[in-house]
């Protein structure tokens, strides 16, 4: 049923730290690797080695430049995947019943055997979290690695989403955001985690931790060039080469 559950027992999701993400794209690669070989149809690529490569990804990392009113601009790397919204508009628009939100943990999934590839759910999502696979013709989205997190065949430390497991800078956290005592909830409270595009009314589960306030640098003046014209040996070399 594409009606949403009135409440979910857990709210499993991600907390993404924009302060520590270094934009290495490792989460993008590991997400693609895990999800192309497990849940549902593979994440296809078209023209992968040609002039116009294109492919399906469930997680992408944008980079933004933010310029405050005063002070230097800063670079923020910004990973984005499905936010597993509480009020997920992608689920209710689905005509076939393929899209659903799980009552037990709040994960939003697509049942690919029911999907007719109309693309309306991708239109309904404000975040661009759903991509129609060009080869399979079905809608793909982040599953929160539902086939890892409950998988008892994996060692316990691997029972987290692939993106979280692979992040080298600890910028991605996974847990139950319904439990105020969980590590992720504590982190959100401590760092003032925010919702993306809250005005859309989707009530996303995933939270983003804004970059920490910069301390204004080390107090020293900016570096200047040490010499514009060469002197000494370099001047002689410069002249000698000039005359050749």
């Amino acid at each position: 049923m594409t009606t949403l559950p009135t409440s979910t027992d857990k709210k499993l999701g991600l907390v993404i730290d924009l302060d520590t993400c270094v934009g290495c794209q490792a989460c993008v690669v590991n997400c693609k690797e895990w999800n192309t070989s497990n849940y549902g149809a593979p994440l296809s690529d078209t023209d992968a080695y040609g002039a116009n490569p294109s492919g399906t990804f469930l997680n992408r990392v944008h980079s933004y430049e933010v310029t405050p009113d005063e002070g230097a601009a800063q670079l923020v790397h910004f990973p984005k995947s499905c936010l597993h919204c509480e009020d997920a508009p992608c689920v209710t628009v689905c005509p076939t019943g393929a899209s659903y939100k799980r009552e037990e943990d709040g994960i939003v999934l697509v049942n690919e055997t029911d999907c007719m590839g109309c693309g309306l759910c991708a239109w309904a999502c404000p975040y661009g979290a759903r991509e129609l696979d060009a080869l399979a013709g079905v809608m793909k989205k982040c599953t929160l690695c539902v086939d890892r997190i409950y998988n008892e065949n994996l060692p316990e430390e691997d029972r987290v989403p692939a993106c979280v497991r692979t992040c080298p800078s600890g910028a991605r956290h996974f847990g139950d955001l319904n439990d105020p005592q969980s590590a992720v909830s504590q982190l959100v409270a401590e760092r003032g985690g925010i919702d993306l595009m809250a005005e859309q009314g989707t009530k996303p589960t995933n939270k983003y931790l804004p970059p920490r306030i910069k301390d204004g640098g080390c107090g020293l003046p900016d570096l200047k060039p040490v010499a514009t014209e060469p002197t000494g040996f370099m001047a002689w070399l410069d002249n000698a080469l000039e005359k050749l």
Binding site: E65, K80, A98, M116, G119
Partner: protein, 290 residues
């Protein structure tokens, strides 16, 4: 938004087809026999032709039959049900008029209501999307229904009334464009709220996550249409509404004039419907600074 030919063809043709079927259900024109066959053939032709075009939009059409199941929450599902119900209810009514020369007004009115409900549900598929502020407006269903009724009347009862309605639609469409032009800004989403970084300062894209095209950009960040928008609006208003209106009001209702008016109306409506998609901005584009 990507102006997919299949969806434009669907919404224009089905709109006209269901509009005509709605008029026929109300006994406009009051015809039987071969004449009725011609009208119903036209109505079913446009309606079913449009629906078939919409199926080509699906990437996995083998599951299309399942789209009748989620009417509790999905406007797209409701649209499918209304369309099939309208076509099924109007069929015996049409058979009665064509072969037996009888009218079953109750069945006709029910079919008429279902035909218009189909157009309304189509419009709600777009209207419900908060992600596309230009569509997320009360005027969207009014326009879709207006075009269906006007087009239907143009075919069913050419003359002064559809002429005046066409002029009214021109004004309404012009007003909707003005309102739509401001809708994105009024919805309040920008790159700052999309990334949550707006609290720190002004945000711009430094580097996209990929340098090639992808589904998201092709589908929801279509930008070509915005360049010729003003010219296409004029073409839409003149061919789609002004010219057929003048023909209807001044040139009488001969078959040639009606055919000319309908052809002009269709060409103009294709331009207007193309703009409906091409001009619509999706908030997802903000992540790509588009």
């Amino acid at each position: 938004m990507h102006p997919a030919p299949s969806v434009i063809l669907f919404s224009v043709c089905s709109g006209l087809g269901f509009g005509l079927l709605a008029m026929l259900g109300l006994g406009l024109p009051n015809v039987t026999g071969w004449s009725a066959f011609g009208y119903f053939f036209l109505g079913y032709g446009f309606a079913v032709g449009g629906l078939l075009a919409s199926v080509t939009h699906l990437a996995n059409p083998k599951n299309a039959i399942k789209s009748f199941s989620q009417w509790r929450s999905s406007w797209l599902s409701r649209e499918g049900i209304c369309a099939v119900a309208a076509l099924l209810i109007i069929a015996p009514y049409a058979i009665g008029r064509i072969f037996f020369g009888v009218s079953m007004p109750l069945l006709g009115v029910l079919g008429s209501v279902l035909a218009l409900a189909t157009v309304f549900t189509t419009s709600m598929i777009y209207t419900q999307l908060k992600t596309v502020p230009r569509w997320n407006s009360n005027l969207t269903p009014v326009l879709f229904l207006g075009y269906a009724v006007t087009g239907g009347l143009l075919l069913a009862a050419p003359g002064f009334v559809p002429g005046i309605l066409l002029l009214g639609m021109g004004l309404l469409q012009w007003f909707a464009w003005q309102q739509g032009d401001a809708a994105f800004e009024e919805a309040g989403s920008d790159i700052g709220t999309a990334t949550g970084l707006g609290n720190i300062g002004s945000v711009k894209q430094f580097e996209p996550p990929h340098h090639g095209e992808n589904y998201l950009l092709k589908e929801m960040a279509y930008q070509i249409g915005r360049k010729h928008a003003q010219k296409l609006r004029m073409i839409g208003l003149i061919l789609g509404l002004a010219l057929p209106a003048l023909l209807m009001i001044l040139a009488g209702t001969s078959a040639v004039v009606t055919l000319l008016a309908v052809a002009s109306y269709l060409v103009g409506l294709f331009a207007i419907r193309w703009l409906f998609f091409a001009e619509a901005r999706h908030v997802m584009g903000l992540y790509y600074d588009k």
